[in-house]
């Protein structure tokens, strides 16, 4: 395992009370593997990503668990040590390419900033290296582009620059948080295609955070499904789509629109209040297969078959 997350707990200490955004999540990412982290908005998937990077802003705080990169717990590192890890070992692509780049610095400077700060590049070599980086992510006429500013470029181009920045130091783990959500579908297809070829070239592992099941099916080796701060199911992509175990994942897959439906299926009820969640399994008020036990006990994430993890009482003896 390259990255092992164990029982991660990230809470937000709001005026209304403690919001358990991530409530004991465990998963691992192997080398050269793409793990998809999927769930609806508010399920805590982005909070997991930010917790791994230790980039949470108050009132958010990691209150428990371990995040181990090659066996070293990142939660024990000092802020200085983290600065050396961020960008070099773990890089992140944010959702919005419009705000991820600084509007007052030229593209070339931003593309190489991470290399310089990690001591991998001398300051007088920036321009040629920046041109190379832009070329790698498929920016046309990169030599002219390095002196441009972010506002000169379209959303798709900016997202490529963000990817170039993220990959510049050759990180072993790339966290991509909804990297194509704000882009048009044809540009999304381009970016996903680039990410695939770059992954093969740089041999990076990817944690792909998205709400889009289609992107998961096409890009990920394994998938972890989150619901209200809990990880409910984790398995390889094929089993997840073919032998869906958890009732929430089943409901999520059923909700994909299909032409032959006369009505789109919806999940009954709504997401519970995360400050005062009901006891037991968080999905039980909406679950069609709920049993009395589900309201009392929270089901633990259990390996029911090799490498297939489910948190549901239906699968426990």
């Amino acid at each position: 395992m390259l990255l092992q997350v164990d029982d991660l707990k990230t809470y937000f200490f709001t005026r209304r009370g403690v919001l358990k955004a991530v409530d004991g999540v465990s998963f691992g990412i192997r080398r050269k593997e793409t793990l998809g982290l999927v769930g609806e908005s508010g399920c805590g998937k982005s909070t997991v990503a930010l917790s791994i990077m230790r980039l949470l802003d108050p009132p958010g705080r990691i209150v428990g668990g371990r995040v181990c990169l090659r066996g070293e717990n990142l939660l024990d590192k000092t802020e200085d040590e983290m600065t050396h890890i961020r960008g070099k070992e773990i890089a992140m692509i944010m959702q919005d390419p419009m705000t991820a780049l600084d509007p007052v610095f030229a593209i070339g400077d931003q593309a190489t900033e991470s290399l310089i700060s990690h001591g991998k590049l001398a300051k007088n070599e920036t321009i040629p290296r920046a041109v190379e980086l832009l070329e790698e992510v498929g920016i046309p006429s990169p030599a002219d582009r390095v002196r441009d500013y972010p506002h000169h470029l379209s959303g798709g181009m900016r997202q490529r620059i963000v990817i170039a920045v993220a990959l510049s130091c050759g990180p072993s783990l790339l966290i991509a948080d909804e990297p194509t959500t704000n882009l048009d579908v044809t540009i999304q297809a381009q970016i996903l295609d680039y990410m695939k070829s770059l992954k093969a070239k740089f041999e990076t592992s990817i944690l792909f955070v998205t709400h889009h099941l289609g992107i998961i099916a096409e890009t990920c080796d394994r998938v972890a499904v989150m619901y209200c701060g809990d990880l409910v199911e984790c398995s390889d992509t094929l089993s997840l789509f073919r032998d869906t175990r958890h009732p929430y994942t089943q409901a999520l897959l059923r909700c994909l629109p299909r032409r032959e439906y006369r009505k789109l299926p919806t999940i009954e009820g709504s997401i519970p209040d995360l400050i005062n969640p009901s006891g037991g399994c968080k999905f039980h008020p909406r679950c069609p297969k709920a049993m009395t036990r589900c309201a009392r006990e929270k089901p633990p994430l259990t390996e029911i078959e090799p490498n297939i993890f489910v948190a549901c009482h239906l699968y426990s003896q």
Binding site: E40, S41, S154, A189, L213, G214, R242, L253, R259, T266
Partner: protein, 328 residues
């Protein structure tokens, strides 16, 4: 003639250009520049039919929708609604006409007046368009709220007390208040969570069955459009490049752009292995659209004539319209 009577809306050669201000405001410019948002768009809409308009951002689908309602004044073209050319109407006549044509906007957070209670928002739409007045209004408002899945007590709350999905329900109720025969739904689900999107689309489908209005459904979400539409128009850089029945568009797309667009949508099935058509480059600027076919700069099947001659938007059989030199 019977066929013509069924047609609710007929748009012919619709053009909208927005002037671009260059340099300091008021400075003289020798060559005025325009954003060619909508260029020569024609389509028609039958009674109680839904036409889906898809395309990527900046293709002119929203401008088309707004021009049809004359919320934006078209540069040229003809919009026949129930046999009347909307562009020939003056303000008062147009206001009267608007009771038959309503709109649902994308963002339910900015489309509802925060200082009015929900009951007032919907009641005002009824009173303005003369579908109700006086004490009757309250009863009708409550009826309408119930039909969009809300309840009576919601009438006395303010929009900010509702979630995004509920606000969109209010916006739909307001659009239905004057009892319109035509609704433009401009990305009605884009601002909502995925799980709420299906609820709103289901609601729209139910209401369409009950009230029998026609709908121009504008969206960039191909799966939603496939689900709600009877006919689908695909737009690229201000033009409709393909227009056909839903089945024809999704099962036998003809235009290279439509094919690329459909193949770009990720399919939630890891066992499906499809050939993806990945388009090179980006959409050109609508200020200087390419000569000839507007798609030729990115088209994988480009021929020499595509660069000079604009393809005709023609019927290739079964009311399947395409603008492409490969096919017409």
């Amino acid at each position: 003639m019977i066929a013509a009577m069924q047609t609710l809306l007929q748009v012919r050669n619709l053009v909208k250009k927005f002037p671009v201000e260059r340099g300091f405001p008021g400075q003289f410019s020798r060559t005025p520049e325009f954003i060619h948002a909508v260029s020569d768009v024609s389509f028609s809409l039958e009674r109680s039919e839904t036409l889906g308009l898809v395309g990527e951002s900046g293709c002119g689908k929203t401008t088309t929708g707004r021009c049809v309602l004359r919320l934006i004044e078209p540069t040229s073209g003809e919009i026949m609604f129930e046999g009347v050319d909307l562009c020939s109407l003056d303000g008062a006549q147009m206001r009267k006409m608007r009771s038959k044509m309503q709109v649902i906007f994308q963002d339910p957070f900015s489309s509802l007046n925060p200082r009015r209670k929900v009951g007032q928002i919907i009641g005002r739409a009824m009173e303005l368009h003369g579908t109700s007045s006086g004490p009757d209004t309250r009863k009708k408002v409550v009826g309408l709220l119930k039909s969009v899945g809300l309840s009576e007590e919601h009438a006395d709350r303010y929009p900010q007390q509702f979630s995004g999905g509920q606000r969109q329900r209010i916006a739909i109720a307001r659009a239905l208040a004057p009892n319109p025969s035509f609704i433009v739904a401009d990305e009605p689900t884009s601002a909502l969570d995925v799980s709420v999107q299906s609820q709103i689309v289901n609601l729209l489908q139910d209401l369409r069955e009950n009230y029998g209005f026609s709908c121009l459904f504008i969206s960039h979400d191909l799966t939603m459009v496939e689900y709600v539409s009877d006919h689908v128009g695909v737009m690229y850089l201000g033009k409709i490049v393909e227009l056909a029945s839903r089945v024809a568009i999704f099962d036998e797309p003809l235009h290279p752009y439509t094919r690329a667009l459909l193949s770009s949508v990720p399919v939630a099935d890891p066992e499906v292995k499809r050939e993806k058509i990945i388009l090179k480059g980006e959409v050109p600027s609508p200020t200087r659209p390419p000569q000839g076919c507007r798609f030729h700069t990115r088209c994988p099947f480009v021929k020499s004539e595509c660069k000079d001659i604009e393809p005709r938007f023609g019927d290739v059989g079964d009311n399947h319209f395409v603008a492409c030199h490969l096919l017409t």
